[in-house]
Symmetry: C2
């Protein structure tokens, strides 16, 4: 009998698991202390592991941070794609609603994650990698949003609207509402952000307003 390759039984923890654990610890620390004050000692401690562990799994701190941002980006995309899939196939307005509401689900729009996004954006000018990944976050999203808008505009005969400009406006509002959640004093919550966005959609697409409540 020939020895068939074992199904990847790992030593103390599978590499993927450890890496993910360290990324989570990094997010925790960045949210708690900021990107600048996050040290490898903090990360490894938060993960309950030893000093050298990050270099073992990620080779360098820089690499850990890059991978952390990539992880955030992937999670963001999964979230909106999942939301979109759940929306009814035959109802454009509901699809648009689902897509834009997904930005305020607790998985992606909690203060911890938002804080990390802004931390990376704040360094985007000086770090090309951060800038690139941040751009990538929006490419597919923007494209799909724009087609949805275009089709809805056709369907409702909203002739006055310039679609690309509106796409930009909506994504901008979405990000700005994230800032509000992060910064605002008087408990501006995810649900408040969603309300603002929905009222904007109702005003813009009056014939479809029912989808935006």
């Amino acid at each position: 009998m020939t020895a068939i390759a074992k199904p990847q039984a790992r030593r103390r923890a599978a590499k993927v698991v450890r890496r993910r654990q360290l990324i989570d610890a990094a997010i925790e620390s960045i949210a708690k202390r900021g990107l600048g004050d996050t040290t490898l000692a903090h990360v490894s401690q938060a993960a309950g592991l030893s000093q050298g562990i990050v270099n073992l799994h990620f080779a360098s701190k820089e690499n850990l941070l890059n991978e952390t941002l990539k992880h955030l980006r992937a999670e963001y995309e999964q979230n909106w794609r999942a939301a979109l899939e759940k929306a009814p196939d035959d109802d454009l307005a509901s699809q648009l609603s689902a897509l834009l509401r997904s930005d305020y689900m607790s998985t992606v729009a909690n203060k911890k994650k938002l804080s990390v996004w802004f931390a990376f954006w704040g360094e985007a000018k000086s770090r090309p990698t951060y800038k690139k990944i941040s751009q990538e976050r929006m490419t597919d999203y923007t494209e799909i949003l724009e087609t949805l808008l275009e089709r809805l505009i056709n369907e409702g005969g909203y002739s006055e609207i310039n679609t690309p400009s509106m796409t930009q406006g909506i994504t901008a509002m979405a990000d700005g509402l994230w800032l509000n959640i992060l910064i605002s004093a008087s408990g501006f919550k995810r649900s408040d952000a969603e309300k603002v966005m929905m009222q904007y959609l109702r005003a813009t697409f009056p014939k479809h307003k029912d989808a935006f409540y």
Copy 2:
């Protein structure tokens, strides 16, 4: 001839001048390297002065950064107040237009300054001072924007609109457009941001659209 008191001739430079010079150097460095990698050596070098100069004028690095953010906030406020004052007293729509356009003037919305704003926002969760100053940036602005909107809504009989929610939406869009300027790959410029905002206002206030071109 009697020696008339010299008009405030300071030693090597007036304290206010030196402080401002160091704040400018800090902004320069934060934009270039990020908040985390900005060292006092960088700042003092950018100012063409010696190592210890920041501690001499600001006592600590922390204090320099706080004052830098306060400076940015003050500059932002001056800018929109000045813009508002230039707008015609008797034309609400033009006032609204001027206020919102001011966010995209080169003084405040260039990549350097935006990069610094985002750097501070990224640390706002862990640094109460940054959070507070960031909130203060918006208090007066929001209040004035809201009264303008309310009066314009009355004037035009735009009955369907919920003013507080719209105020939130507009400021969010304004900040989100800043992010676009900072991050976007395909040269999204200040003028593009302004266009997006203006098209939003035309769509919302059709009777006043002339003011938003």
